[in-house]
């Protein structure tokens, strides 16, 4: 297959294929499920196939010129391929997990349609070289997110879905204004033609509204914990693999690869990140809803990613890129484990849980592995990412920064361990519970193993991250 074929295979297979899933579902649920997984796997395989060219510095690209100076194009450079691979890998596991999880609910066709479309939008977004197409894919993902959060169609879930939609779309509209301002300045929406363009602080602020709303960073974060009402695989998709990573990806694409910004943002952004990391970690410490705790954790960890990206030095960016991958895997695993628990005992309240390690041993081990990775302990991948981000923060020369994030890391240890011990240890709360659904068990085990092996064989992801950093040409 040619490079262009791979690009379109990566994007269009899930993007268009998703609409055939309801049709397939009407004939056979099994066929629909397999087709959904194959579509996401196709994206993963295509992204993997584009990797050698991206690493070699000759990325596949496709561009179509349109009237009035508009254009439409895709570029499979190292950063895009890295994101595409990470997202599609985690999404594949989540789709596999969904087989068991969703089979008891209505509207399964809609679920698979939205989940696969979501992945397609993500693939389109990361490979786009045009601000308008980025915006379009961004909004497609917002619509999918809206439907997935409101999947159960109860008044409360619909209210929360609306909240998520309004906040993220509101932010996106402000970002669109920023994109238009850039067009006024440069006369193009094509990112390839804007390398090194200096943007104003106002434009930066507008675009940041979109990024921070999608990446659930304070003060635009409150939709994320509320989105926990979605089915667990959808939550995992939103919080770990796709949605929240869109924001940090666009940040990296725009502000590390393309534009140059006022150095003041190297101070402002870490302050926002620090507040976001601490406030959300503090909230996680007192929450009793398992999914809300993990959601707050996502907000906190995203602050570390944004911190790394905004440090302005190689170590921080290196760490942040690794963090994106490690966090996707580990947090995806945590949400999936939470799904198994919720599915098994019918509650999300950790005060009603206890001793589940005896009843759900594999889930407990997988949860522990993923939690240790999020906490940043070896031999899991999160260790390298967290270490590098904190080192990057230290290298900025702003002495307050690294200690504050170490405090955040301490809080991460505390809330995740509190959660872990409340759920899995102590008096057995549900003696009749047992592990069931091999797809769900396999999925969480895969996430745990990926977390482990991504740490032991850190040379593999870090090799790719190194290529991305080199291609940025900044350091």
């Amino acid at each position: 297959m040619t490079g262009i074929g791979l690009i379109f295979g990566c994007i269009l297979t899930p993007l268009i294929g998703a609409f055939f899933l309801p049709l397939l579902g009407n004939f056979s649920k099994g066929l629909r499920n397999i087709a959904a997984l194959l579509m996401v796997l196709t994206s993963l395989v295509c992204a993997g196939a584009m990797l050698p060219a991206a690493v070699a510095g000759a990325p596949y690209a496709w561009q179509m010129e349109l009237p009035l100076g508009f254009s439409f194009g895709f570029l499979a450079d190292a950063l895009a391929v890295f994101m595409a691979m990470t997202s599609s890998l985690v999404a594949s596991i989540i789709v596999l997990y969904s087989y068991n999880y969703i089979e008891h609910y209505d509207n399964q066709n809609e679920y698979y349609l939205m989940a696969v479309l979501f992945i397609g939008a993500m693939m389109g977004l990361v490979l786009s070289t045009n601000l308008i197409s980025i915006y379009l894919f961004w909004e497609i993902s917002a619509i999918c997110c809206w439907r997935l959060i409101g999947f159960y169609r109860q008044p409360e879930t619909i209210r929360r879905a609306n909240k998520a939609f309004l906040i993220t779309v509101g932010g996106a509209l402000l970002m669109l204004v920023g994109f238009i301002a850039i067009y006024q300045q440069t006369g193009t929406f094509n990112l390839v033609d804007m390398q090194g363009v200096q943007i104003t602080n106002a434009v930066m602020a507008l675009i940041l509204c979109g990024i921070l709303s999608k990446s659930a960073t304070l003060p635009l974060h409150s939709w994320l914990p509320d989105a926990g009402v979605a089915p667990s695989p959808a939550t995992s998709l939103l919080h770990a693999a796709v949605l929240v990573k869109i924001g940090v990806y666009v940040f990296a694409r725009l502000f590390l690869v393309n534009f140059t910004v006022d150095p003041i943002w190297n101070t402002v952004l870490p302050v926002i990140c620090a507040v976001s990391a601490l406030v959300s970690a503090g909230a996680a410490l007192v929450e009793n809803d398992i999914k809300r705790i993990i959601a707050y954790s996502t907000i906190s960890q995203l602050a570390y990613i944004l911190l790394g990206l905004s440090c302005g030095n190689k170590i921080g960016v290196y760490g942040a890129l690794l963090y994106i991958m490690m966090h996707s895997i580990a947090k995806g695993g945590l949400f999936l484990c939470a799904g198994i628990i919720e599915h098994s005992i019918g509650t999300k309240d950790i005060r009603q849980m206890g001793g589940l390690a005896r009843r759900l041993p594999l889930t407990a081990v997988a949860f522990a592995c993923c939690a240790l990775s999020v906490m940043g302990f070896p031999p899991f991948g999160g260790f390298f990412a967290k270490h590098l981000v904190i080192e990057g923060a230290y290298h900025t020369g702003q002495l307050w920064m690294a200690p504050v994030f170490v405090i955040g890391a301490v809080m991460t240890v505390m809330y995740l361990m509190r959660l872990f011990y409340k759920v899995f240890f102590g008096r057995v709360s549900h003696p009749d519970v047992h592990e069931h659904g091999w797809e769900m068990i396999l999925s969480v085990s895969l996430m745990a193993l990926l977390s482990l092996f991504s740490g032991i064989f850190i040379n593999l992801p870090s090799g790719l991250v190194n290529v991305i950093i080199e291609s940025m040409g900044r350091w």
């Binding site: 909230a283 007192v286 390690a357 070896p378 270490h387 904190i390 200690p403 890391a409 361990m417």
Partner: protein, 631 residues
């Protein structure tokens, strides 16, 4: 030095850029740990054989390292200088051999101890993983590799304390959070050190001047390293884990492995990484932390109700003493601490194994329920007495010589801290005399159901005890062998020569007086209370001290509780901010929209006058914008 310069197995280990070294000492134990878990439970013998083979191989490969004087290897790994760099040199190899020997003996004991227990596979795996992590951390020549193995111990602690003991999560949670905090402090400290030295290589970090931000890095690294050793403020989790986790795991992981790693890294931090001179401010800070630790852990030991808890607490007191010696900044202090950790490993090994034997014989280590066991288990009693005497520093046992070295270093630096060291030894001595006397001597006391159990301590449990007791007894005579080996591994020693005997006869006499005071205190306490178990009542119920001990018992002086309270306060503030933001989205913005909507509805009431007014206002805005554009 390259691998080609060695012969035999040393050459094999160093061949191929040291890949065999990694395979033999790190990968092999880790893989065999996984195999132990995979082997089905009914095949206990098969699992035991695999476990035993792993332990023997580990010790064998460790001994093979001894001829290697200096070998470094570097394998590209994580980018940004995060190479998998290892270094084999005498300090590391000596400690690896000590750790491996203890692992073998404790492992042998564990095979018998765990036979009738649940989760034997988990315990075996935890022991082997601990061994692999210790080997990796001691061989690491890159800060990232060091942290990788060092912090990897947390996962093993999680396995050993939580998954194997699911009913009582609080003690394990405390252990994990305490260790996690210490590890994160170490992480920050390493970041500071690496930045200051502009190198991640351990050999590249040398004598960083203690100025400005380096102070913060130094303190964090120091506390992080000390945290593994159960030193203040990370000491309070140790007795809890020691009382509840499987004894072989406690004996090796908590009693030996963590302490060995802690002392090793502290030596490197104080004498290599940072410029800590004798009498410097840094020296004062270290010695103050050590003194605080000695007092805190010593008092904690007095309050322990179980044999396991007492041993864990006095083990922390010992690491406090070692830190005090290192804090002197004198090479003699480093040598004393390094020598003591070797002696200490054997002593603590014996003490924990004795606790296991007592538990096996009586079903408990609760000091109020057992007594006079000496006549039932003579080998255990002899081992217990020898190890306790060595821990206190009774000559000519191994603990005496190392303790004397440490005391000499502290005396030479600061007499006040010498008094703290003596106080620590007095507390340790008082507690050890109490437990030896009450558990092994006097009237027989044990739970009813265990009274008629005889021959319940099998040979596989007695043998490690006896071997380690012989090490404790004979180690004093042979102390200069490991001391010489350690000196080769510590280049900062310079031309310091150590003959194996104390340098100052006056300090020896002073120390013997202290030992006599311990004895006198014990007999006074026994006479006063009428029972060895109450021999410390005159201290714990002394006016003034009673309230202090009551506070300690309630956890008021526990730094872990302070941390939790502080974090709860911070969390309350964070939650208030978060709820405030949520309120804006959930109630504030909808309210504004509803008000605006109502206002617009009111403005658009079908009246012609209203419409004309709105149209005029709109027109004015458009004109204003056009004018602005033109001007």
């Amino acid at each position: 030095m390259t691998g080609a310069e060695y012969t035999g197995l040393a050459a094999w280990l160093t061949a191929g850029n040291g890949v065999n070294l990694i395979l033999a000492l790190i990968v092999l134990p880790a893989i065999l740990a996984a195999v132990c878990v995979v082997v089905p439970s009914p095949a206990f013998e098969v699992r035991s054989v695999i476990f035993g083979a792993a332990l023997v191989l580990n010790l064998f490969f460790s001994i093979c390292l001894l001829p290697i004087k200096n070998f470094t290897t570097l394998i590209p790994w994580g980018g940004l200088e995060m190479h998998f760099a290892l270094r084999v040199y005498p300090l590391a190899t000596t400690l690896i051999c000590v750790s491996s020997l203890l692992l073998l003996l404790i492992g042998l004991y564990a095979v018998s101890y765990m036979q009738s227990r649940r989760y034997a596979a988990g315990c075996f795996a935890a022991l082997l993983l601990s061994g692999a992590m210790v080997n990796g951390a001691l061989l690491a020549n890159n800060l990232i590799v060091l942290l990788f193995f060092w912090e990897g111990m947390l996962g093993v602690l999680l396995l050993g304390t939580s998954f194997l003991h699911t009913e009582e999560p609080e003690f394990a949670l405390k252990a994990i959070i305490s260790n996690g905090c210490a590890d994160l402090l170490l992480l920050f400290g390493t970041v500071c050190a690496a930045t200051s030295a502009d190198s991640l290589s351990l050999q590249g970090i040398s004598q960083i001047p203690l100025t400005g931000i380096n102070w913060l890095g130094f303190i964090c690294m120091l506390l992080g390293a000390a945290g593994k050793g159960g030193i203040f403020p990370f000491h309070s989790w140790v007795p809890g884990v020691a009382e509840r986790a499987d004894l072989p795991f406690v004996a090796y992981h908590v009693g030996v492995a963590q302490k060995v790693l802690s002392v090793y890294l502290l030596i490197r931090i104080i004498f290599e990484f940072y410029a800590v001179g004798a009498g410097s401010a840094a020296s004062l800070v270290i010695m103050s932390i050590a003194a605080l630790s000695i007092i805190a852990t010593g008092l904690l030991a007095l309050l322990q109700q179980t044999l396991r808890g007492v041993i864990a607490a006095v083990a922390s007191t010992q690491t406090g003493l070692m830190l005090l010696a290192m804090g002197s900044g004198l090479p003699l202090g480093a040598l004393g601490a390094a020598t003591q950790i070797i002696a200490y490993a054997a002593i603590i090994g014996v003490l924990f194994l004795v606790a296991g034997a007592v538990e096996r014989r009586t079903g408990t280590t609760d000091l109020d329920r057992i007594g006079g066991l000496g006549r039932l288990t003579p080998p255990v009693t002899v081992s217990f007495v020898v190890a306790a005497a060595a821990l206190i520093g009774v000559p000519p046992l191994n603990g005496f010589f190392a303790t004397e070295l440490m005391l000499e270093a502290v005396w030479a630096t600061n007499i006040i801290f010498y008094l703290f060291a003596i106080l620590g030894l007095l507390l340790t001595g008082a507690v050890m005399l109490k437990v030896v006397h009450s558990v092994m001597f006097g009237e027989l006391e044990m739970p009813e159901s265990y009274t008629y159990r005889v021959n319940s301590i099998p040979g596989a449990m007695s043998l490690p005890l006896i071997i380690l007791s012989i090490v404790c007894a004979a180690g004093g005579v042979l102390i200069h062998f490991p001391a010489a080996q350690l000196q080769n591994g510590m280049p900062f020693m310079g031309d310091l020569s150590y003959s194996g005997m104390p340098n100052s006869i006056w300090l020896v006499i002073l120390f013997i007086i202290v030992l006599l005071l311990m004895g006198a205190n014990h007999f006074y306490g026994v006479l006063r209370s009428g029972h060895p178990r109450g021999c410390l009542d005159h201290i714990t119920y002394a006016p003034g001290l009673r309230h202090l001990f009551a506070k300690i018992e309630k956890g008021a002086t526990d730094p872990y509780n302070w941390l939790m309270r502080g974090m709860n306060g911070l969390a309350a503030v964070c939650v208030a901010i978060d709820r405030g933001i949520n309120y804006v989205y959930d109630a504030g913005i909808p309210a504004v929209i509803t008000r605006c909507s109502a206002w617009f509805r009111a403005m658009s009431n079908g009246s012609l006058a209203n419409h004309v007014a709105w149209s005029c206002a709109g027109l004015l805005v458009v004109v204003a914008l056009v004018l602005l554009q033109i001007l």
